[in-house]
């Protein structure tokens, strides 16, 4: 709920729910916080039932810290591990039926734009690789083709981790899993390529072993989705249970995978570059001075 619409009447603040007061007084509502300040403020994410050492949780935690306007943000998710943590946050969470998350988010973002025309309301979809690339594939792609203005984040653990280790469209070829004993027969789906073809204005891959990069990517994606068009982030969030990674080696694995096959990549349209540089001061996207262009 936005601070602009719900304000404490002096003297009545103590009657607001404790969780909400915590967010305003000690948390990030109405303030700017960064990943480097975590540990010094009350986070939006609370205790959650995810496994110990889960990289997906780390990514979700960093993503929620990075939201540019958390008090005006609504998250949408679906079945899968991720929603167990996302739903334990002090911002609204909408549960889309399995695979429906991008359809639900389409309606939600349109409705919010009609109702709150004066200020941006950010809708962020966070779902797993199964919910997005397999079961919700049609709705995900259609929302991009329709240029729905919200952010889609895939928590790509390359397996159906919540149901015992079946292969998903995002599992790598030849990968043997508990419920795929012969190994996967097909290549990993190129969702990044499809996002670009479908017209996403901002597409990025990221691994949570670089928290500041996660923060910068999420901020850009949410800002671009406010005005320009759909944005898509694909994050490698390993499943340490199904891939048998010791919990203290999760970041080592993330580093290995990042250098091997999940390199940081960013695709951004010219329109989105202009928007980010002019409205939000992103210097790296400012047009180069004429002298520098001539030298090239």
């Amino acid at each position: 709920m936005s601070l602009e619409y719900v304000k404490f009447t002096p003297g009545f603040g103590k009657f607001m729910p404790k969780e909400y007061r915590d967010m305003v007084e000690h948390g990030p509502f109405g303030k700017k916080v960064s990943v480097s300040q975590v540990g010094t403020f009350k986070e939006i994410l609370e205790e959650h039932p995810m496994c110990a050492g889960c990289a997906m949780t780390l990514f979700i935690r960093l993503a929620i810290v990075a939201f540019p306007n958390p008090e005006d943000t609504i998250t949408v998710g679906t079945a899968g591990c991720g929603r167990l943590a996302i739903s334990q946050a002090a911002i609204p969470f909408v549960y889309g039926n399995y695979g429906d998350q991008n359809g639900v988010a389409s309606g939600l973002t349109r409705g919010l734009r009609l109702r709150f025309g004066d200020r941006p309301k950010d809708v962020v979809v966070m779902a797993g690789d199964g919910g997005m690339a397999d079961i919700g594939f049609a709705q995900t792609l259609h929302s991009w083709f329709r240029k729905e203005k919200f952010t889609t984040i895939m928590l790509d653990n390359e397996v159906y981790g919540n149901t015992g280790g079946q292969e998903s469209g995002m599992t790598n070829r030849n990968q043997v899993l508990k419920m795929a004993p012969l190994g996967k027969k097909f290549e990993k789906m190129d969702m990044l390529g499809m996002a670009k073809v479908a017209g996403c204005a901002y597409v990025a891959t990221v691994v949570p072993n670089n928290p500041r990069r996660v923060e910068s990517v999420i901020k850009k994606a949410v800002l671009v989705a406010r005005e320009i068009g759909p944005s898509y982030i694909q994050a490698y969030t390993s499943c340490n249970i199904e891939y048998a990674i010791p919990t203290d080696k999760v970041m080592e694995d993330a580093k290995t995978v990042e250098t091997d096959r999940y390199k940081f990549s960013e695709y951004i349209t010219d329109e989105a570059k202009e928007y980010l540089s002019q409205l939000y001061g992103y210097k790296e996207y400012l047009p180069k001075p004429a002298a520098a262009v001539e030298k090239q």
Binding site: S36, G39, T40, H48, G53, T57, R61, V250
Partner: protein, 109 residues
């Protein structure tokens, strides 16, 4: 009994890198106190663990040993670390947090 992370305040306050706070998958578990270690002459504070939320994954140990190379975090049995921070005793101030120490097994006092 089970293992939780325990941060050596002196080693941590000498470097104050804050990396472990960014790499813990649990929210508000590794917290940061800007005033920790000031009595020993350190300026920038140190991290500490709210042990009731620690799930014992030891990711912070790997980050402290391999990325920061400070070796300030060890996994210890919860009944052997003595008085430590618990979520209910944590207060938040202006860009810092502070914890009253209590025994994690017996409670405060």
């Amino acid at each position: 009994m089970y293992l939780v992370a325990n941060i050596d305040t002196e080693i941590c306050a000498a470097t104050s890198c804050k990396l472990c706070t960014q790499y813990c998958p649990e929210a508000n578990t590794i917290l940061y106190d800007n005033e920790a270690g000031q009595d020993k002459g350190f300026k920038y504070g140190a991290a500490y663990v709210a042990v009731d939320r620690c799930k014992g994954c030891a990711q912070c140990v790997w980050v402290c040993d391999n990325m920061a190379k400070h070796n300030a975090i060890k996994m210890e049995m919860i009944d052997q670390i003595g008085d430590t921070a618990l979520t209910e005793n944590v207060t938040y101030g202006e860009k810092t947090s502070h914890a009253l120490l209590a025994n994690p097994v017996r409670g405060q006092g």
